[in-house]
Each structure stands twice: as structure tokens, then as C-alpha cells.
């Protein structure tokens, strides 16, 4: 997507400047480290976008997409994944049962999610082939 990395890089650059001033002015290690973490997340995301597509650095409006897009409408697995994370965390307070149960549900839901994503890609492929 054209230009996607630009706001991240611009915002990351502002954070770098403010972090550098903080470093020079305060010299406080924990403050510099938290700043560096935020910069890393933002610049790292920009880098990931650029690696996915060089278009991410290009100015101007996005071009029309050539490929069809499949959009899921429901996902029981995503709900179960969310609940299992909740169960795992709840288990840290109320006992190992909830944690183990949560891990079990998480593994099952991730497996189901993988099946859903494969089915989505299959429908995109078949639509693309049908079009060509």
C-alpha cells in the first residue's frame, strides 16, 4: 500500500529527537530504554511494511487492487482464542486448572484458525483463477 510506512517513519523520527533530548538532558537509563522501545516498535513496523512492499515508501494515492479479497464474516475460533487467553490469565490467580484448560483451548483454537485462513486463501485463489 503506497505511503503506508511514511507516517510511521515521520512519527518515529519525532520520537527519536525527543528521546535524544531526554537522554542528553536526564541521562536516566529507564527513561531512555522505554523511549527506545517505543521507537523500535514504530520503526520496526515501518520496516516490516517496506519489506512487504516497496510501495510503502512511495508518495501518492494507492492504486486499485488487482486481486480479489476474501473477507471472513464469522470466526468462532477467534472468540475461543480470546477466551482462552483470559482463562490462562485467570488461572494465575485462581489455580492451575484454568491455565491448563486455557492452554488446551488456545491450541485447539489456533489450529481451527489455521484451517479458516487456509480456506480463505483457497477461495481467493479460486476466484483469481476463475477471473483469469
Amino acid at each position: 500500500m503506497s505511503g503506508g510506512a511514511i507516517p510511521l517513519l515521520a512519527w518515529g523520527a519525532l520520537l527519536v529527537v525527543l528521546g535524544a533530548i531526554n537522554w542528553i538532558w536526564t541521562g536516566d537509563a529507564i527513561q531512555v530504554e522505554t523511549f527506545a522501545f517505543a521507537v523500535l516498535v514504530i520503526i520496526g513496523s515501518a520496516g516490516a511494511l517496506v519489506l512487504m512492499s516497496r510501495q510503502a515508501l512511495r508518495h501518492g494515492p494507492p492504486q486499485p487492487r488487482g486481486d480479489p479479497e476474501a473477507v471472513p464474516q464469522v470466526s468462532v475460533a477467534a472468540v475461543v482464542a480470546g477466551l482462552s487467553v483470559g482463562s490462562i490469565a485467570f488461572g494465575f490467580v485462581f489455580g492451575a486448572f484454568f491455565t491448563l484448560f486455557g492452554f488446551g483451548m488456545l491450541v485447539a483454537s489456533l489450529g481451527r484458525l489455521a484451517i479458516e485462513v487456509r480456506a480463505q486463501r483457497r477461495s481467493e485463489r479460486s476466484l483469481k483463477e476463475g477471473r483469469s
Binding site: 511514511i6 507516517p7 512519527w11 519525532l14 525527543l18 529507564i30 479479497e69 464474516q73 487467553v85 490469565a89
Partner: protein, 546 residues
């Protein structure tokens, strides 16, 4: 003309409640998040009313000292982690894909997972009440107050776990909104053609992505500390905790502000029938505002002696520059506009006027010399309630009245809306303005009983009466929603002559947002462009000069 996407493969649907709970449609996730946030707002509001009942007299006996500590902790935590922040993300989740012409959100399944993680967090946090001992160390849970020696009991552990889950869920949903803006814009929708609200949402979610992991980290460390981990030891440990907490804690204030600023800006531009003034400067100021607000957290720690006050006073004061640009843009948009004072416009103006009081009092608290005087007093409570309640909540209601017709297809009643606005404006100022006076005179926060100094009881009674007026205002809003949804007045696609793409589709929008080609996108107000072009053509046809 461009289309939102080349084609869309539709999957099966599940009817009923299960369908609502498992839907990956960004509109449904945004609505679910918004409705549940609103319910948590009502819970937080009831807790606030109980606090105000206790403070109606100097030696109130409504609740015990310990229960009062639980009330202010759970009130603050509910409002911040479960209402204002998630509501901002909910608005972004619902509106951003529509405003940029996308058919869905990036990573819809991930967004749905994030919603459920957040909900688990909310339920775990609130179920602390069932243990009879919920969190009672404030929404920041400072060390050493919150360690297992000073706050034993499972309720505080549940609070910590609840915060971790809520923050993780919000982080995940924010990441999906970032991905949508950066990778799913419609053909023609360049960055500098994105609507004002989308820009405010973008900087908010960037701040969420950059700062919420630090909250998750510090809460995990607090949990380990409470299990005997010895992480935060002595004075330096307490300062390190505060440094880490406020690295999240101040940016989140702006996450709770920017989207509501965007909502108020959209309502003002549409109700003034004018383009938002100074768009480029506004975008630049948003970038600067959000970056600066990542670097001001130490002003919460001026009096600890553990931070370099000069640096944080400098960055905190520098915030007035981008804030000034936004106010200038707002006033310039109003000048010369054909203003219609509908309810959304009233709330938007209320947002800007009242946030000004919060912002100006922030200059006081951003100055170390003055902060030493007002620290831990009711002045600070007044300041942040003027930013977050008199500011953000008014911006939220501006957004509700502006976009309710788009979301439901029905209009909210204007008469009830204006009653809601008047009651809320009166109640808000009655409740929070006397706090400035009490704080200046030395009334400290987090106390359930206070000395009988002259005037203090009267001011506190005014505040309590104000909180009842706020409750009436919220009741009138709920009544308005009930009436408007029961006896629907059809709103049509574009009842306000909107400027942005969400008004170019049906109300409520179809499953994949747009069932027709999008209008040409040549600026941040494509529908206004179309209308102006049509007016120009009509004028040219009549032979009158433009």
C-alpha cells in the same frame, strides 16, 4: 470512480446472539466494544455517585474508609481501562474503514480475539467485587502500596490480571486499526486525503501500540512482585515503577482525547457546512502533539525527586503549540460558516470550551513550582476531569449524535439531545469547577472525610448535587436512545450533508461497507467536493459568476 475493492468473497453467516458474538465485521466488533464500554461507564458512574454521597458532608457515613478507597480505585480503573480508552478504539474500529473506503479491518479475526481478551479483562477486574476486596490502590497501583504486604488479598491480584488483559486486548485492536489505515485505503485515498477523524485515530493507535506494551510489562512485574518476586526494591524501585507506569499513563490520556477531538472536529465542519480549516497544519500538529505527549510522563512525578523536572516541564509546556493550532483551526472553521446548532454541534463546542479549562489548568500542573503546591489535591482531580469528562466525554457525545444515524439508520431526538447537553454542561461544571477552589485551599484527594474548613462542606454539597445532575443527563441520553430506536425516524444515507466517505453508503452500512462505486477521492472531503462541483455546474448553467 473507484471501488472499495475489486471483489469480495462472502462467507457463511451465523444468526442470533452467536452471530453477534462471533462476527468479524469491524462494525459489529466496534459496536460490541462501544456498547459494553457504555455499560462499564454506567458502572463507573454509579461508583462516582457513591463517592459523592460519602463526601456530601465532612464526616459522611455512607461507606467505610476502606470501601471509599475501593470505590475511587474501581471508578478510575473502570473509566480509563474499560470506558474512555476502549470507546475511542471502538469509534476507530467502526468508522476508520468506512472513512478510508476499506471493505474490512486489517486482521478481522485478530481484532475479534482482541475484543474478547479485553472483555475477559473487564470481567476479571470487576469480579474483584465478588471477593469482597477489589483493587484499592488507585488506577495506577503505586509500589509499595500495592505490594502483597500492604495490599494482601486476591482482589488486587484480579485487578492486576484484569488490567493486563484489558491492555492486551486494546493493543491488539489498535494494531488492527493501524494496519487498516496503512494498508487498506481505497484507491485515490492518499495519506493527505484521509479525513480528520482518521488522522486523530491513527495517532491514537500509534500511541497505543508504542506505550501499552510497557503497561503490560509493568503489570506483569507487579504481579511477580506480589508473589514475592522483589522486583521494585526501595526508593529506586518505587521510582522505576512510576516511570514505567506513567510512560503508558500519560500517552493514554491522549489516546482518550484525540479520537474525541476528531469526532468534535467532524461535527463542527459538517454543522458549519465548511471544510475543516488548515488541514495540513492540523495533520502536522497531530503528529507533533502525539509525539510530544509520549515525552511528558515525568510531570506526574515532579514531587518525587526522581525525575529531571526541567525536561518534563519543557515538553509539557511545549504541548500548548499543537493544542493552539487545533483551537485556531476550530475557530477558523466556524468563522464564515453556515452554522446549524444541532446537538452534535453543541457537544462539539462544549468539548472545545470545557477542554480549554482542562488544558489551561494543565499549564499550572505542568510547572514544577505550581505542581508542588497543588500535587495530590483536588486541583488535580478538577484538571483531569475537565480534560477527560468535560473534554473527551463531550467529544464522545458529539460523535454519538453525529454518527448515530449512520450506525442505526435512525435519528436521535433533537429536543432530548439538547436537554441532555444542557443538563450535562450544568452538572459537569457544578461537579468539577468547585474542585479547583478546594484543591487550591488544600483539600487532598483520596480522603473519605475532610476537615470542616469554612466553605468546604458547601462546595462539596454543590459537587454532589452536580453529580446527580450528570446522572439525570445520562438518563436523558439513555431515554433518547430508547425512544429513537423504538419509534424510528428514518435518517437516510446522509442526513447532515456529510463530507466523508461513510456518508456515501447506506445507513447502517452493508456487510462489506460499500455496495456501489466510491465517489472520486480528490481531497479529505470527497462528498463536499462533489456538492461544490455540482453547485459550480449549476451556477455556470445559470450564467452567474461563481
Amino acid at each position: 470512480m473507484s471501488t472499495a475493492t475489486s471483489s469480495v468473497v462472502r462467507a457463511r453467516r451465523i444468526p442470533g446472539w452467536l452471530g453477534i458474538a462471533t462476527s468479524t465485521d469491524h462494525k459489529r466488533i466496534g459496536l460490541n466494544l462501544g456498547i459494553l464500554s457504555l455499560l462499564f461507564f454506567l458502572v463507573g458512574g454509579v461508583l462516582a455517585l457513591l463517592m459523592r454521597a460519602q463526601l456530601a458532608s465532612p464526616n459522611g457515613h455512607v461507606v467505610s474508609d476502606n470501601t471509599y478507597a475501593e470505590l475511587f480505585t474501581m471508578h478510575g480503573s473502570t473509566m480509563i481501562y474499560l470506558f474512555v480508552t476502549p470507546m475511542a478504539i471502538a469509534m476507530a474500529m467502526y468508522l476508520v474503514p468506512l472513512q478510508i473506503g476499506a471493505v474490512s479491518i486489517a486482521g478481522p479475526r485478530i481484532a475479534l480475539t482482541g475484543f474478547w481478551i479485553w472483555l475477559c479483562g473487564g470481567l476479571v477486574m470487576q469480579s474483584g467485587w465478588l471477593t469482597g476486596d477489589p483493587g484499592r490502590d488507585g488506577w495506577f497501583s503505586y509500589i509499595p502500596l500495592s505490594d502483597s504486604t500492604n495490599t494482601p488479598g486476591v482482589g488486587q491480584d484480579m485487578w492486576v490480571v484484569g488490567v493486563i488483559l484489558a491492555a492486551a486486548g486494546l493493543f491488539v485492536m489498535a494494531a488492527c486499526v493501524v494496519g487498516t489505515i496503512l494498508r487498506h485505503r481505497a484507491p485515490g485515498m492518499s495519506l493527505m486525503r484521509m479525513p480528520v477523524f482518521t488522522w486523530t485515530a491513527l495517532v491514537s493507535v500509534l500511541m497505543t501500540v508504542g506505550s501499552f506494551p510497557v503497561l503490560i510489562l509493568v503489570m506483569v512485574l507487579l504481579y511477580i512482585e506480589r508473589q514475592g518476586g522483589h522486583i521494585f526494591i526501595g526508593f529506586n524501585g518505587a521510582i522505576d515503577y512510576q516511570d514505567l507506569f506513567w510512560f503508558f499513563g500519560h500517552p493514554v490520556v491522549y489516546v482518550m482525547f484525540f479520537p474525541y477531538l476528531g469526532a468534535a472536529a467532524e461535527a463542527i465542519a459538517v454543522s458549519a457546512h465548511k471544510r475543516w480549516f488548515g488541514y495540513t497544519f492540523f495533520v502536522a500538529s497531530m503528529m507533533l502533539f502525539s509525539a510530544l505527549s509520549m515525552s511528558v510522563w515525568g510531570h506526574h512525578m515532579f514531587t518525587t525527586g526522581g525525575v529531571t523536572n526541567e525536561y518534563f516541564a519543557f515538553t509539557s509546556t511545549a504541548l500548548v503549540v499543537p493544542a493552539g493550532i487545533e483551537y485556531f483551526d476550530m475557530v477558523a472553521t466556524l468563522i464564515g460558516g453556515a452554522i446549524v446548532l444541532r446537538t452534535s454541534m453543541l457537544f462539539a463546542l462544549g468539548f472545545f470550551v470545557q477542554f480549554l479549562i482542562g488544558g489551561l489548568s494543565g499549564i499550572f500542573t505542568g510547572s514544577p513550582a505550581l505542581d508542588y503546591h497543588v500535587n495530590d489535591s483536588y486541583f488535580v482531580i478538577a484538571h483531569f476531569h475537565y480534560t477527560l469528562f468535560a473534554g473527551s466525554v463531550f467529544g464522545f457525545f458529539a460523535g454519538v449524535y453525529h454518527w448515530f444515524p449512520k450506525v442505526t439508520g435512525a435519528r436521535l431526538r433533537e429536543s432530548l439531545g439538547k436537554l441532555h447537553f444542557v443538563l450535562l454542561a450544568i452538572g459537569t461544571n457544578m461537579t468539577f469547577f468547585p474542585m479547583f477552589i478546594l484543591g487550591q485551599e488544600g483539600m487532598t484527594r483520596r480522603i473519605s472525610r475532610y476537615p470542616t474548613h469554612p466553605g468546604w462542606a458547601t462546595l462539596n454539597r454543590i459537587e454532589t448535587a452536580g453529580s446527580v445532575v450528570i446522572a439525570l443527563a445520562i438518563a436523558s441520553f439513555l431515554a433518547n436512545m430508547w425512544v429513537s430506536l423504538r419509534r424510528r425516524e428514518s435518517a437516510g444515507e446522509d442526513p447532515w450533508l456529510g463530507h466523508t466517505l461513510e456518508w456515501a453508503t447506506s445507513s447502517p452500512p452493508p456487510a462489506h461497507n460499500f455496495d456501489r462505486p466510491l465517489p472520486p477521492i480528490t481531497s479529505y472531503a470527497p462528498l463536499l467536493d462533489l456538492r461544490e462541483a455540482a453547485e459550480d455546474r449549476a451556477r455556470a448553467g445559470r450564467g452567474t459568476p461563481s
